[in-house]
Amino acid sequence: MSRPRIDPRAARASHLVSTAGALRPRLDLGRTGPVSPTGRPRRDPRREMAVSRVSSDGRPRFDRSHQGSFEGLAPSNKTVVSPAPAAPKLRIVAEPAFLVFAIMEAPGGRLTRFDRQLLGAAHRLVGSSGEGAVAAIAFSPIADLGTAGADRSLIVEADGASASGRARLLRGLVESFAPRHVLFAEEGESADLARRLSVSMGEPILTDVEHLGPRQAIRATKGRMAEEVGEPPRLMTLGEDRAAPYGGETCGARTLAFSEEAAPIESDDAILSDEFIPGDPARLTLSETDFVVSAGNGVTDFDHFRKLAAALKGTPGASRVVCDAGLMPREAQVGASGTVLAGDCYLALGIAGAPQHLQGIAACEHVIAVNTDLHAAMIERAGLSIIQDAQLVMPALLKLLEERGS
């Protein structure tokens, strides 16, 4: 196959704009000249870009998914009017054909990341047909259940109940509502509850599920040499970070009605006394704690820093520079070569935010940065950034905490 050769001179000449008297020849490469030796229609990259541009003001944004023909499209200076943001839609399931229970832990009445993932997984089991409903079950009141994806909510105040009491209560709920699936977190008290429920009901359970879809659930077994696959059973515990949190429209979160008689809360006779000992943040390791107060090279006043960490009830941490200098113990180092945090909140005082450091706080939901440099990477990462000298902020924080009397 031989194609006619392109004559570059002729092609260039066809783009030439006649500007009489100009010193340099001016070319308009956007103009599609008649010259196309092959006879094929020529692409006009500028026009294609203009068509895929979706916002006309500020920073240009392009939607490259446009697959149609670009022939005869509107002129490049057309403005795309973005539709006015509609009111958020509400997902209402009036009469669900079936329920999927998701058991929330929500310490302190706040949904954790894992709780949200559980609700997301429950939505996968329900599907988008609108037949089924996701019911969030919790033992203490929780805020924000609707946006997290609960169509129904059932809060049974059983904070003081023992684990076996909760299992009996849950069994009553499962028997009276007959949910199609009950999803637990494979962590802490939920994992315990799931197993108690499974043996007391004689139902098989799939534990630590790694993949969950509407038709298939998979878990690892035999020390990760084999996996068990099957239809999602009724009882399942989901591994952490195995499902995406729910991201759809806000759900109704209507309360499910239930009678106390169906599920009485009993105490356990074998347990004679029960004492809760809260964790002492000063003595916790970095991988266990939920709130880290951390010092970087921008902190020189370590007396105030240690006092501040204690007063804020956080675990002290540090960047590598500080640990290398011997100002903080090596166990306190946060980052790729230190500890990767699992906590929710990180307060970074005078830390630049090197990639090796940011790796250590990748999982933190809330980050506060105090730094003198507005362009530090830590400021980019933080939800609240204070551009101020850490040596001034620390005493002010201490003073404020003293005033509040804690």
Partner: protein
């Protein structure tokens, strides 16, 4: 006080040879420190794991030899009913067997014992016939329970590290062997799930600041007092800590 430590038929994650899990080694050390008569118990085709547990402080052990495909739970129930221990200590999950962590719960249900999960410490209680148990909760919190004996506990990884393995102790310890014929014992329940070779599924990436609600706030050059106010307000609004008295 009679204590039984449950030892599963675990395998080493890399070499696949019979090996004691760290959790069960912790359980053996905890039981040895507790004092009283301590015995290991394993139902399965080999006693290699039990031998290793002896090296971590158990003096004696019982090995119920059953075939590979037989469910160990009925044999364990029969043995524990006859032995009537005060405390049964198990790991919270197996490694290299079923890995469901259901065996202790099935035993507790059948023996009608209370079960306490995720235990990091066991010590004799103040009253007779009681035991004081420390349970690990999330975020470093602990729960101290005083429980009426008998009780079954499962060990949490944060329990004290196991005492070092002593070869001489492993040789010295005695294992009582009992062969249990498969006849009469139900084989493991047919599972509704199909087994196939494992395929690694990476966990979802934890995105920086995922789930972070609201806008990012940047305060340029506030007074230190204003900065302090904002930091405390941020911590309290997001439910991290409460600072008012």
């Amino acid at each position: 006080m009679k204590t039984v430590v449950l030892v599963s038929g675990a395998r080493h994650p890399v070499s696949r040879r019979p090996a004691l899990t760290r959790l069960e080694a912790q359980a053996a050390s905890l039981a040895a420190k507790l004092g009283g008569t301590v015995r290991g118990l394993h139902a399965g085709p080999s006693d290699d794991q039990l031998r290793e547990a002896l090296g971590h402080g158990l003096g004696e052990a019982d090995w119920l030899e059953i075939e590979d495909r037989v469910d160990p739970v009925p044999a364990l129930i029969d043995h524990l009913k006859a032995a009537a221990p005060d405390i049964v200590i198990a790991g919270r999950r197996g490694e290299g067997t079923g890995d469901t962590g259901l065996v202790p719960y099935a035993l507790a249900e059948a023996l009608d014992m209370p079960i306490i999960a995720d235990v990091v410490g066991v010590s004799p209680g103040a009253g007779s016939g009681t035991v004081s148990i420390e349970q690990a909760l999330k975020k470093g919190a602990r729960r101290r329970l005083v429980v009426q004996l008998p009780v079954l506990v499962t060990i949490h990884p944060l329990a004290p590290p196991p005492s070092p393995f002593a070869f001489a102790a492993a040789r010295r310890g005695t294992i009582r062997h009992e062969r249990i014929e498969a006849t009469g014992l139900p084989t493991a329940k047919p599972s509704p799930f199909v087994e196939r070779p494992y395929r690694a599924r990476p966990k979802m990436m934890r995105q920086a600041g995922a789930g972070q609600a609201g806008e990012k706030a940047v305060l340029v050059g506030p007074t230190p007092e204003e900065a302090a106010e904002r930091i405390l307000a941020f911590l309290e609004d997001n439910g991290i800590r409460r600072y008012s008295a």
